[in-house]
Subunit: 193 residues, 2 copies
């Protein structure tokens, strides 16, 4: 066990902002990073594997986790509940490992409050709202009305980018991954006060 | 001309800490960065070219620059005066260029105060004081007594690393350059508040 305490990297973006892909690339480059597996009550999307990015659980189970304080943060997004189990995070940090959380703006706010200076908030900006709409349509998981709702939410979420520590524009994938990785490496050089 | 305002990256290290070499590598990787040319009253070392890292000037000329407020920061280090001409920095920043200053802890303090949140302070730590002594001896520019004085100063300066934003250990050159570069890239993603 090391004395070093880990950092929590929080990555948020509007729905369809491409955070899942980017974080996968980041983890590939920085294998020391631990990815948190969120729990969610939404059904798996086509191609999503159980326990990879999400653990898919029932509403009853989600409520039970929440009641007994097992979630570091939770939020209701587009009608489904999402949460981050607290234990794996605490364990990783205690062992000096850095953790990546892929969560929405509500969750990010909670983590910043709870993590007391150990959280680094990164907002992924789509190149434009038009680009975001294209991504959502390509994904084929939402109805036109669902896509409209996600775009309205995106406009609200983009306003939150201001209180994040970093913003990365998700234009060219390689550039965005370079920037994410630079933020992780730089943060590890931060002077502890 | 862009709206973006540049950052001032201040790199300090104890004498013999290897900052000149590291910053050269950084500039090679990030050609958009502007290096500030300091003025100094110390004589050039073997192999140092006029106007590259330093402009070598007389004490009288240094005093004149200082009097008319042409220096962003200045300090007396090991008996010689060092200073950063203000104009090239102001011009670079106004054009949205980032600047690297290679200055000592006294100068760094002044720049932080003057730059109002635009300065990013990076301290290069030698792997150890022993390693630092080896570098100073290899350089062959100082007498044994001079080296001892530099090592005493180094101990004082290392205590200053605490109030820098970042510390980079100058162990393997490649790692140290990677970290310096990551700090620059990450800083450019910082959210402006």
């Amino acid at each position: 066990m090391t004395q070093r305490q880990g950092w929590i990297f929080v990555v948020s973006s509007p729905s369809g902002g491409g955070k899942t892909t980017l974080v996968q690339h980041l983890l590939h480059r920085q294998p020391g990073l631990r990815r948190s597996v969120s729990v969610t009550t939404r059904p798996p999307r086509h191609g999503e594997r159980r326990g990879k990015a999400y653990q898919f659980i029932s509403r009853a189970r989600f409520a039970a986790l929440r009641r007994r304080g097992a979630l570091l943060e939770w939020a209701k997004v587009h009608g489904a509940y999402y949460g981050t189990p607290r234990r794996p995070i605490d364990q990783a940090l205690a062992h000096g490992r850095d953790v990546v959380l892929n969560i929405d703006v509500q969750g990010a706010r909670q983590v910043r409050r709870l993590a007391r200076g150990r959280a680094v908030l990164i907002f992924l900006l789509p190149r434009s709202l038009k680009e975001l709409a294209r991504r959502l349509m390509r994904r084929r998981t939402d109805s036109p009305a669902g896509i409209q709702a996600r775009l309205r939410a995106a406009r609200r979420e983009l306003a939150c980018a201001r209180w994040y520590d970093y913003t990365v524009v998700n234009g060219r994938l390689q550039d965005a991954v370079d920037q994410l990785e630079a933020i992780v490496i730089a943060q590890r050089c931060r002077t502890r006060r």
